[in-house]
């Protein structure tokens, strides 16, 4: 190991190291704060999406109850109507479940859009009257 004589130099060297260290720590702290803010924003975004999912689940529940109510009627037409509603709702739930698993995938987005078109078609064909049941109000 080579040996050096450093009388008085240790103060200078340590002062330089202190300056560099303080600057480095300050920069790293700022980087940590930026990462933390990014994580917070991402978490808030996810929370917002999760809230959307919860609302959608509540809507599906309400529609299921409504269909059960219609199915329980003795009227044959109502039962046929309820069966068609259930098929549409089942397709929608399937797309929605896929969407929950693949929030950002293009395939899930397309499936959700197809399900939405199906729901709209179903509403236009089977519930054309203006006072008819609306999505979420069933």
């Amino acid at each position: 190991m080579p040996q050096f004589d450093l009388p008085g130099w240790s103060q200078f060297i340590l002062a330089i190291v202190a300056l560099g260290g303080a600057l480095g720590a300050h920069r790293l702290n700022r980087r940590g704060q930026i990462t933390q803010t990014q994580q917070q924003n991402a978490a808030n975004e996810l929370a917002t999406r999760a809230q959307g999912f919860e609302e959608m689940e509540a809507l599906v529940d309400r529609l299921n109850h409504e269909i059960e109510r219609i199915e329980s009627r003795a009227d044959r037409d109502s039962q046929l109507q309820a069966r068609r509603c259930r098929t549409t709702l089942d397709h929608f739930v399937m797309a929605f479940t896929t969407l929950q698993g693949q929030v950002v995938s293009e395939q899930a987005r397309q499936a959700a859009e197809a399900a939405q078109v199906e729901v709209e078609t179903h509403q236009a064909e089977d519930h054309p009257e203006p006072g008819g049941p609306e999505l979420g109000m069933a």
């Binding site: 340590l14 720590a25 990462t35």
Partner: protein, 149 residues
């Protein structure tokens, strides 16, 4: 309506609190020993450090870091935690560098001292660059509590 579970101020992670607590204890012990028992620092490897500044200065420097780190661990204050970690990183780096100088001046009997002190210093720097708070901490704790019951 936005869910408020992630929107309120998030708690400091237990990892960060433990790290701050341990760093605080480390600096408290070093500072207290340097202040109350200065004669115990008789190894020649401390010569570059003590040449640069008197031992009482290092003791106060160390105790200051201990107060910042421990205080942040107790109060969960993020600004205090960032100050404490930066303070701890710089102080540890200085001690590590001082010990490293003693290796090159032939005043150190072993290079393990600077290796360990510098490794701890870099660990402190790494922690500086990390988030101190986790947005998922509250949610995780709440879910863990729910699944435990």
């Amino acid at each position: 309506m936005q869910p408020n579970i992630l929107h309120r101020a998030n708690d400091m992670t237990p990892r960060a609190r433990w790290y701050l607590g341990i760093a605080g204890l480390r600096h408290l012990l070093v500072g207290a020993f340097a202040l109350s028992m200065p004669t115990s620092f008789k190894s020649t490897s401390f010569i570059p450090i003590i040449e640069a500044a008197p031992l009482w200065f290092w003791a106060i420097f160390s105790l200051g870091s201990a107060v910042a780190c421990t205080g942040a661990a107790i109060t969960k204050s993020e600004p205090l935690a960032r100050l404490g970690m930066a303070w701890s990183a710089v102080l540890t780096l200085l001690i590590g560098t001082g010990l490293l100088l003693s290796v090159f001046t032939g005043q150190s009997s072993s290079p393990t001292g600077p290796i360990i002190w510098l490794a701890v210093a870099f660990k402190d720097f790494v922690v500086c660059a990390q988030p101190i708070r986790s947005p998922f901490e509250g949610l995780t704790e709440r879910l863990a509590r729910k699944s435990a019951t």
